[in-house]
């Protein structure tokens, strides 16, 4: 998600994109945030870039809210939609995992139970 390719080529945000390149460290994220804070016009791309900063800072709900705003302002942009879907997929995958775990009372315990019983002897 928020790959360099997906971050697009919007000239206005070239400096922000540069900070977000690769696997951005804390300092790079702080610098990207400062650049975004300094921007007066908050268009769809601004919200998308802000979403990227939240994502790399592991603030997934904040990221989602920014993506929703970006999509609202530019509903046809496929980059926004792709990352939004990716984010929702994270949540769905976790829910699916929990559902699987709760449906198996003793997940993978076929060997474990024997081992446990032996330990008790």
């Amino acid at each position: 998600m928020f790959s360099q390719e997906n971050l697009g080529d919007h000239e206005k945000y070239a400096a922000v994109r540069e900070k977000l390149a690769g696997d951005p460290a804390d300092e790079a994220l702080t610098a990207a945030q400062e650049l975004l804070d300094a921007e007066k016009e908050r268009d769809a791309e601004w919200h998308y870039m802000q979403a990227a900063v939240h994502y790399y800072r592991r603030r997934y709900l904040d990221c989602r809210k920014r993506l929703e705003t970006a999509i609202k302002l530019d509903p046809l942009n496929p980059r926004y939609r792709a990352d939004y879907d990716g984010l929702l997929q994270m949540s769905r995958a976790a829910q699916e995992e929990q559902r699987k775990k709760s449906s198996k009372a003793t997940d993978g315990c076929a060997e474990g139970c024997c081992e446990c019983c032996c330990n008790l002897c």
Partner: protein, 289 residues
């Protein structure tokens, strides 16, 4: 806001060997607290730091030796993990977290002054023996207080200093074994601990008009109303964190059996989250082995 007491295992899916190990580590940590901070500080023993002890020993490849020993709290001898340097320092961490939690409670106008007296000496001993650890914790506590006073604009922003503290603690203890995956896991773990406590305290904080990131962001009348009105967002907040924890966990090389760590992170934390979201009382599991 220092929070303790939410990190639990999922008992029906815990093997007996892992329950025995957890119990031995719990008693071992208690003895570790005694060594680093004195007898009175043992009253602050928590499952949260016990879990850290289990997890860190495993990643660091420090084998735990378990012996039948006596203990002042129990008549019969029991299996106890022998204390080592790591356990003693974690004992100091346990004391620090309890001390700061009580300090936080006092600052919020609550009780705790009497209890804190029991930990004052232990806190001083920790400060003398582990100055780097104390500085790390106190710096992030100050950051947390600052974030809360400035009215952090979202639950995740509010949780950031606590999450960063846990991440920094993982670096402190793991040293060269620290990795991107361990940092990410501990960040998410710290975030979870902060947010689950905030969600659990929703009604109390709303009534007392104390800082709570969920009250500030959503303003619902009660925790129940919050879940009815914004339950999907709250679930998303925790689910994405569980996803990130699972991803990180898969990349961490464990030195020994990882069943216990997996049980707590992949099953215990989501179960506890579901309990708090439903507003149910704390799970008490008392199994004798």
């Amino acid at each position: 806001m220092t929070v303790l007491g939410y990190v639990k295992y999922d008992l029906p899916n815990l093997c007996v060997k892992d329950l025995q190990l957890y119990r031995a580590m719990y008693c071992g940590l208690c003895k570790g607290i005694a060594k680093s901070c004195g007898q009175r500080a043992r009253m602050g023993l928590t499952y949260d730091v016990t879990f850290l002890s289990v997890f860190l020993h495993n990643i660091l490849g420090i084998d735990v030796k378990i012996e039948r020993q006596g203990c002042i709290a129990h008549v019969k001898k029991r299996s106890i993990a022998l204390t080592d340097e790591l356990t003693e320092e974690l004992g100091a961490l346990n004391t620090l977290l309890v001390y700061y939690k009580l300090t936080d409670d006092i600052a919020d106008g609550g009780k705790g002054r009497g209890k804190r007296v029991f930990f004052k000496k232990g806190f001083r001993r920790a400060k003398k023996k582990y100055p780097a650890l104390v500085k790390l914790v106190s710096d992030y506590m100050a950051e947390q207080e600052k974030a809360e006073k400035s009215g952090a604009s979202s639950p995740e922003m509010a949780a950031d200093p606590s999450a960063c503290m846990m991440q920094a603690l993982s670096d402190h203890f793991l040293k060269e074994k620290a990795s991107k995956a361990t940092r990410s896991l501990f960040y998410e773990f710290g975030k979870w601990v902060y947010l689950i406590d905030a969600l659990d305290d929703y009604d109390k904080d709303k009534k007392k008009r104390e800082y709570n990131p969920f009250v500030l962001t959503y303003g619902s009348e009660s925790r129940k109303a919050l879940m009815e009105e914004h339950g999907e967002e709250i679930s998303f907040l925790f689910d994405t964190s569980f996803y990130a924890m699972r991803e990180s966990l898969e990349e961490i090389p464990f030195s020994f059996n990882r069943d216990l760590s997996d049980n707590v992170i992949l099953r215990g934390l989501p179960l506890e989250t579901a309990r708090v979201m439903r507003g149910e009382p704390i799970r008490v599991e008392n199994v004798k082995i």
